[in-house]
């Protein structure tokens, strides 16, 4: 009974859902942290809008990565069709986890670095690039998460 409801398809979908939900939630949190700092800067100086907007947008990529993986899992399910085995379903579930979990944490932490970097822009707009670099350091781990998830989905 249990495995009739929680069958292979369920686990695969669950994995895709987690990949997107966790990563996108992380991005939402990260962007909002950066956005709060950004609004403060814009309130002082409207000309810095574009600079802070770019920094604010940086933590949004985790959500995109989660989206990509969720979609790839669904594509894999379509390909496997009804022949999907329990093991394949569970593997797809696990494959969604790296980008989901890493995406969530890196999104939040990247948002914090982005907010701090917006502080750089508030003082010296010329140094925006340095802020971007610092912020991108965090992103690397989300990229690794995405990559590992992609490779894992590819293995099923």
């Amino acid at each position: 009974m249990f495995f009739e409801v929680f069958n292979a398809n369920f686990w695969a979908i669950f994995g895709g859902a987690l990949a997107f939900f966790l990563a996108a939630a992380g991005s939402a949190k990260g962007v909002s942290i950066a956005g709060e700092a950004a609004s403060g800067v814009v309130a002082e100086d409207t000309d810095k809008f574009v600079n802070v907007m770019i920094l604010e947008a940086l933590p949004s990529t985790q959500g995109i990565y989660g989206f990509v993986i969720a979609f790839m899992i669904m594509a894999a399910m379509t390909e496997l069709g009804s022949a999907i085995t329990m093991q394949q379903g569970l593997t797809l579930f696990v494959a969604g986890l790296p980008i989901g979990i890493v995406g969530m944490f890196s999104g939040i932490y990247q948002g914090r670095v982005a907010a701090a970097s917006i502080g750089i822009v508030a003082k010296r707009s010329g140094d925006m690039v340095k802020g971007i670099i610092l912020t991108l350091m965090v992103e690397l781990f989300a990229i690794f998460g995405l990559l590992i998830s992609i490779l894992m989905v590819g293995r099923v």
């Binding site: 770019i54 949004s60 990529t61 989206f67 979609f71 971007i132 991108l136 990229i143 995405l146 490779l151």
Partner: protein, 657 residues
Amino acid sequence: MAVVGMKKLTLVGLHDDRHRILSRLMELGVLDISDTEINPEIEHLFKKEVDSDDIKELEGKIHTLEGAISVLRPFDKRKKPLFKVRKDMNHHDFSAVILRRHEVLAEASRINRIRTELLGIKSDINKYNSSIIQLNSWNALSIPVESTDTLRTEIWKGMLPAAADTEAILKSIDEEELACSIEITGSDNDQTYITVYVHNDDAQKVSSILKRNGFSNVNFPGLRGSVSENISLMEEKIGENQKEIAGIEENLAELSLHLDEIETVYDYYSIRKDISLMEGEIAAGKRVFFLEGWIPESIEEKLLADLSEKWVVDINTRHPLEDEEFPVLLKNGFIADSVEDITNMYDVPSHKAVDPNPVMAPFFILFFGLMLSDAGYGLLMAIACGVVYFFVPIEDTMKRFMKMMMLCGLATVFWGTLFGSWFGNLIPVLSGNPSMNISVWFEPVKNPEYMLMWALLFGVIHLYAGLAMKAANLIKRKKYLDIVWDVLSWYVFFTGAVFLVMPYVPAVPESAIQAVEPYGIYLFAVGAVILLFTQGRKSKNIFGKIIGGLSALYDLIGFMSDVLSYSRLLALGLATSVIAGIVNEMGSMGGFSFTGVIVFILVFIVGHGINFALNALGAYVHSSRLQYIEFFNKFYEGGGKAFAPFRRNTKYIRIKD
């Protein structure tokens, strides 16, 4: 294609010509004038004279003009170009405007006065509005607002906090049988508005009861008559003021036709201020002055001829001394020139080092293309930026940026074609056969592991190019032996490491592994030994040498993580095409009907628009990052001072000869 050679120039001229010579230098805009150092031997002859009164006066005028411009800007009806660009103006027109500068300045002061007047009227309106709000709470007041007493009574108007129990207060006053009547004239969320009529004898007692409950008195200074009379009077006044504002604004709109002139005069005064500031930086004697600066070698002759033709001057030039720092001006070809601003955002290259732009440019552009990786997006971007670059008048920095984006767009078309991605899988979807393969090379979406291998390989090539740049720097400094220790040995070491890990990288062809793996261990060992013995060589003591050597081996981990960092080339590229595919799929859900086509077009524009914007931004920042962190890390020497010639730094106009 490189750092431009500079010469140090010393110019001695007559004091009387000083202003004109500086103006001419500014017009030519080729000399980076240094803050002149007066050495002690001639200190009694020369000094720096800053005419701060003159500068202050000029700043005052600039401030006036700036104020006038900001007042008039909202009324500016001139056609606004998409990209802000300074207006070209020839000498003749410029002089014509400048002749009238005093009139223009007077007009600017007048505009500033109008602004003050306008602000006064606006604050009056605010005052009336807030009074009206206050009076509205007293709408039910039945007596004139100014009445405060009669022969035997006192009348208080005031407020009790809403939290106070008004009923209880009335009751307690009643119970003490005080000669007092309280009228509640209104209330809102915060207060209850009351009017108190009290007999003089009981005023003390009532007052203390009310005070205890937080009563505060309200007066209406300067007002007479009933509340409603006052309100309508004020509304009338507001109406009058608004009419007045409309009149003034009409006037300003007319005055805004003079913006061109005001802006020109603004630039004229800021040029004059710059000259005055510069006069304070050069050495002035009684009869002569002298200044020092850097000039690009190629223009030296022209400047010499130009100045000595017009004035009595003595000009000497010399090459920079060994180890003397000179300002860095880069001169690059069509492609390398476009990424100079990316490099300068990181740091201006050192005058001692090789200009990295020619090597960086192809990597930057190709990596951008690889990460955006959609031929459709690339084509749109290349066309849009190309049109702006070739046909729209824009400032130089913007022009370089547009050129770079155009090239990046072309690179994107290149990769997109290889990967068969035109707006994602639009062509296969429209043709009704989603699994159709139109790639020239292969589809990364179908085979990400293969793409990962290539991404890492591109990374290795990029890093090796970085090491080659280090060799180029060493050659420039003639430290040939260091190339063997600091570059070649790393090549051997890293190549060995790459060969050794190849079997663990997915999708590497078996034949390639078999061909190179046996050599891996030898290269690795040879490289490691050389590094172990050489990397600590600059250290003085034996421990330093050992630790230097060992820590160099640790750099292997840095190298590996650098290479892994290039996996973003795959990840970002895939993200673009997968999302583009989702957009196409969502759009085509409506089928081939009238509404279906409309839905498709809407989804197409919005979906691809967002996907393009996000991924183009991502490609731009990540491609920059790969240069800054991975590439520059291997060799870059910044800390240069950018060549900043003394020139007309204008905001609104460009004077053409």
